[in-house]
């Protein structure tokens, strides 16, 4: 189905508001919407909400043969699915251009910045490595999918645990070791977390009037009236992990450096939130295991963390 057309009234109102530093949802120009992270009972299953934008991630793994040129490295795959549930403009079936752009974006931010240690995914060099699959689904689209997806991918990868693997005794003189690997059930041996070196997160900027007016975390309508976007991915150490520019806006170097400065502040806030939510989630899980949980029934519920930092609603 075609997307809902944007009326002239909406266009001029959103543009006028952006130009006068006012935003349609009452936020400030540099404010993010409310971030909500919900960890589901299953490992690697996380839902991230950014205002009315909602995405879901499921991380899974599988033992595969490594690429011949990199025998000691595992693989991480990102797959972004934009279903019609999120927006009527999304078509089912083959991934759209936008879906490919987004999954490549997440890949650049999370994988190409070496956030995930791929060598630690190796089980037997040249024989068996873990292939981590990160499935990202957009559930509701109200703009800025990229920031929500990056955050979800990272949260999913940190939350995920890979099962432990052990080698059978080699006394039998088997030829193929990889075929006889024992993958331990999670109840048998505690599964292991992936090693995450740093937490790169993105911040999206939308521009109007050749970059004269700018907003952080654009909504769907702001995205539609904007002339272009700049996505800056960064970690808490102020290392820029990726920069992605989209649209026809011309920016000069000073604007980009200004954006990275703003991104640094936003990323610091978001990292703090993500770290805090993960710590709390792990604490809850540990309590549950130790039998200190308030109620047994609670173990089936997701644990939700909300961030209400700079939100006016």
């Amino acid at each position: 189905m075609k997307d809902t057309p944007l009326s002239n009234n909406e266009r001029s109102f959103v543009q006028g508001a952006m130009k006068s530093g006012l935003r349609v949802d009452g936020r400030g120009v540099y404010d993010f919407r409310r971030i909500r992270i919900a960890y589901q009972p299953e490992r690697g299953h996380v839902e991230v909400q950014l205002g009315r934008t909602r995405v879901m991630v499921q991380v899974s793994c599988e033992l595969t043969k490594p690429f011949p040129d990199r025998p000691a490295e595992g693989a991480v795959q990102f797959n972004v699915e934009l279903s019609p549930m999120a927006s009527p403009a999304f078509e089912p079936g083959r991934p759209s251009e936008q879906a490919i752009e987004l999954s490549r974006m997440v890949e650049r931010v999370v994988k190409d910045s070496n956030a995930i240690d791929t060598t630690s995914l190796c089980v037997i060099s040249g024989e068996a490595v873990w292939n981590i699959r990160v499935d990202l689904h957009a559930l509701d689209h109200d703009g800025n999918l990229s920031d929500a997806l990056c955050m979800a991918a990272l949260a999913g990868l940190i939350h995920f645990r890979k099962p432990e693997v052990s080698m059978p005794s080699l006394s039998s003189g088997d030829e193929s070791v990889a075929g006889n690997l024992i993958i331990h059930d999670v109840r048998e041996r505690e599964p292991l977390p992936l090693s995450v070196h740093h937490m790169p997160l993105c911040v999206t900027f939308a521009f109007l009037d050749d970059g004269e007016h700018m907003v952080v975390d654009p909504t769907f309508q702001e995205e539609r009236v904007a002339e272009g976007y700049l996505i800056v991915a960064m970690n808490i150490h102020r290392e820029v992990c990726a920069v992605h520019k989209h649209g026809s806006v011309l920016l000069d170097a000073s604007q980009i450096s200004r954006c990275t400065k703003i991104a640094a502040i936003k990323v610091a806030e978001m990292t703090e939130l993500l770290q805090k939510s993960i710590d709390e989630e792990e604490q809850l899980r540990a309590n549950r295991r130790a039998g200190k949980a308030p109620a047994a029934a609670k173990s089936n519920k997701s644990t939700i963390f909300e961030y209400q930092g700079s939100i006016v609603q």
């Binding site: 002239n8 009234n9 949802d25 009452g26």
Partner: protein, 275 residues
């Protein structure tokens, strides 16, 4: 005169698809065990239709086998009793209309006749505009369906303009047709919507805004003047004196969806103070 609650005892409660809500023909042989004075809902519904009362089924309801009113959607059964527009003279008292619908919340719009909608002009074709009303098919809006329009004096609406109008034709086999005039050829508030802002809300919230006492609009109206055009297709146009007020109204309406009246009043108070 029967009230709507007597005809349909389940008004205000949740119904599920397939639930039988009333039988048009049963009732004459009302069980005498009920005793005198106790009329079952079915018998009064039968009596109601026998005495010229009419039923108007809205979204989520269907007539099954010619006699049973059944739900085809999950939601809260709602209804009202009104006078039929055709009733005149001596038989005016008997021509009551019971309007019935199922209030559910969804984003998709299914066109229904006589509903007021907010559309976006997407194209001009020959003698009519093509209007996106958020339904599966776009509606057509004739150049002549505006107040004071003639063959020579055509309305001049740009592509992307917003129009508030009524659906004159809406059935599943035909393209919906929209008009911006009432039965007396008057605009009656319909026509192009200039300026302002458009918000997209669920059908449930839309119906609540159109109810007799929409808490959020009443609360907002105490603080400043505002203008709305509420479309049943989930699009609501709003306008006020300043953009700040428009933003406030938009957020107040969208936030009010899952709030009680007390919460709405507190929320509006808080937003107005922050302005």
């Amino acid at each position: 005169m029967a009230t709507i609650d007597e005809l349909f005892p389940r008004i205000g409660s949740v119904v599920l698809p397939g639930d039988a809500l009333g039988d048009l023909e049963a009732g004459d042989s009302a069980d005498p065990a009920d005793g005198p004075g106790s009329t079952t809902s079915n018998s009064s519904l039968h009596a109601f239709t026998q005495h010229g009362g009419r039923l108007r089924l809205g979204p989520g309801l269907a007539q099954e086998g010619g006699r049973v009113i059944a739900a085809s959607r999950a939601g809260v059964l709602q209804g009202s009793m009104g006078a039929a527009s055709t009733g005149t003279g001596a038989n005016a008292h008997s021509s009551q209309v019971a309007r019935l619908y199922i209030a559910s919340s969804q984003k998709r719009y299914v066109p229904a006749k006589d509903e007021l909608v907010v559309g976006i002009i997407t194209d001009r074709m020959g003698e009519a505009f093509k209007v996106d009303i958020g339904a599966a098919a776009s509606a057509s809006l004739s150049f002549l369906a505006f107040e004071g329009a003639t063959k020579r004096n055509r309305p001049n609406l740009a592509i992307g303009a917003l129009v508030y109008g009524k659906l004159a034709v809406a059935n599943k086999d035909m393209e919906p047709e929209m008009v911006c005039i009432d039965a007396a050829d008057k605009a009656a508030g319909m026509g192009e919507l200039t300026g302002g802002y458009l918000i997209h809300i669920s059908s449930g919230l839309t119906r609540r805004l159109l109810s007799r006492d929409p808490a959020v609009l009443i609360a907002l109206g105490k603080h400043f003047a505002l203008e709305t055009a509420i479309g049943l297709n989930g699009r609501t146009w709003i306008n006020a004196q300043t953009p700040q007020q428009v933003v406030l109204i938009a957020n107040a309406i969208q936030n009010s969806e899952f709030m009680t009246v007390a919460q709405i009043n507190a929320m509006v108070q808080r937003l107005v103070q922050a302005l």
